[in-house]
């Protein structure tokens, strides 16, 4: 009798747990759906904003071109009126998967390795070597010089290859980690680099994850 009661009680508890779980699943599904709707609404609005911008740009470009046409008497130039020397601006949307990459400051900027003939696994090491999300330190937002930082790291990259007597194709993931570890790129280049909202001290507090 006691065994039977205990079994019924257990079954009742199981039913309760299942019901709670179902409720939770429904609540989560509803939350995800709402979230997806919010993002979709933002995307639609942003698309409309871009369309308006492109329409405005078209008018602007036509005005500029008309003015320059008069000024330069029909000499070849690009759609902005600049002489293009055979190089056309890229009008298409850029779909670089920028934010698909790891979040935060990349110790080795993408520009320093994207055109190098690195093995995929090695490339991934640089892709994932970031500071992670940064605090918004609200320093002077004009304190920027990514170009100087990019240049400094790029030169370090070349020196590393030379020092180790290897080609880009030969660089292993382990060597990529050594490059990051030997020369804490963000630290060694701080003198050339000040970020808007990314205090160099903020970067120093976040070690490279190996």
């Amino acid at each position: 009798m006691a065994w039977s009661n205990s079994r019924e009680e257990l079954q009742r508890e199981l039913r309760d747990v299942r019901r709670d779980l179902d409720d939770l699943k429904r609540a989560l599904a509803a939350r995800h759906a709402a979230h997806a709707r919010d993002i979709e609404a933002l995307r639609t609005k942003s698309d409309s904003a871009l369309e308006r911008v492109l329409r405005t740009f078209k008018r602007y470009a036509e005005q500029q071109a008309a003015a320059l046409e008069r000024k330069w008497d029909g000499q070849p130039h690009d759609e902005l009126g600049r002489f293009d020397f055979g190089k056309k601006p890229k009008p298409e949307l850029v779909s670089q998967p920028a934010a698909m990459r790891s979040r935060g400051h990349h110790y080795v900027p993408r520009q320093a390795y994207k055109d190098r003939r690195l093995p995929e696994d090695t490339r991934k090491v640089f892709e994932q070597a970031t500071s992670g999300k940064l605090d918004d330190a609200r320093t002077n937002m004009f304190d920027n010089s990514h170009r100087a930082y990019n240049k400094a790291v790029n030169e370090q990259f070349d020196r590393f290859l030379t020092k180790n007597n290897m080609t880009e194709e030969q660089m292993t993931p382990q060597q990529a980690r050594e490059f990051l570890g030997d020369r804490d790129v963000s630290r060694s280049s701080n003198s050339e680099f000040q970020h808007a909202g990314v205090d160099a001290r903020n970067l120093q507090r976040r070690p490279i994850p190996w």
Partner: protein, 133 residues
């Protein structure tokens, strides 16, 4: 920020990055080493902000600023920072630039350092300010 906020930030950041990139490419050429007109920072630090560093002053075009601002029409809490970083002026010019928001443009240009042809440049809906605004 919660995880959901982070996901929205990621999505909007990417969306806006592509749109800013599309607009900028109509006004100049990008080079991340300072060899052309500008660079658009392609790291997402987790802020509601994009940063453009301009290497040629001709990128201080009111039409460009207006179009970038239009991109923020539905994003009232986002901003686009235009930082002036002309190679060769590092030790002679102070840091300066613009902050573009939906409702305003913070003009932090220090015109006395700029060549005469850029000293009178004006931006619709702007107010004088600094990089800390």
């Amino acid at each position: 920020m919660t995880d959901a906020d982070d996901t929205v930030q990621d999505t909007v950041w990417t969306m806006l990055y592509d749109r800013i990139s599309a607009v900028l490419s109509r006004f100049g050429t990008e080079d991340h080493f300072g060899g052309a007109d500008y660079l658009l920072v392609d790291d997402n630090y987790g802020h509601r902000r994009h940063i453009v560093e301009i290497h040629k002053l001709r990128m201080l075009d009111p039409a460009l600023v207006k179009m970038l601002r239009m991109l923020l029409a539905e994003l009232p809490d986002w901003e686009i920072v235009i930082a002036v970083d002309v190679p060769g002026t590092e030790n002679t010019w102070p840091r300066m630039g613009l902050i573009i928001r939906k409702h305003e443009v913070v003009d932090g240009l220090q015109r006395r350092y700029l060549p005469p042809e850029f000293q009178k440049v004006a931006f619709e809906g702007s107010r004088t300010g600094t990089g800390f605004d």
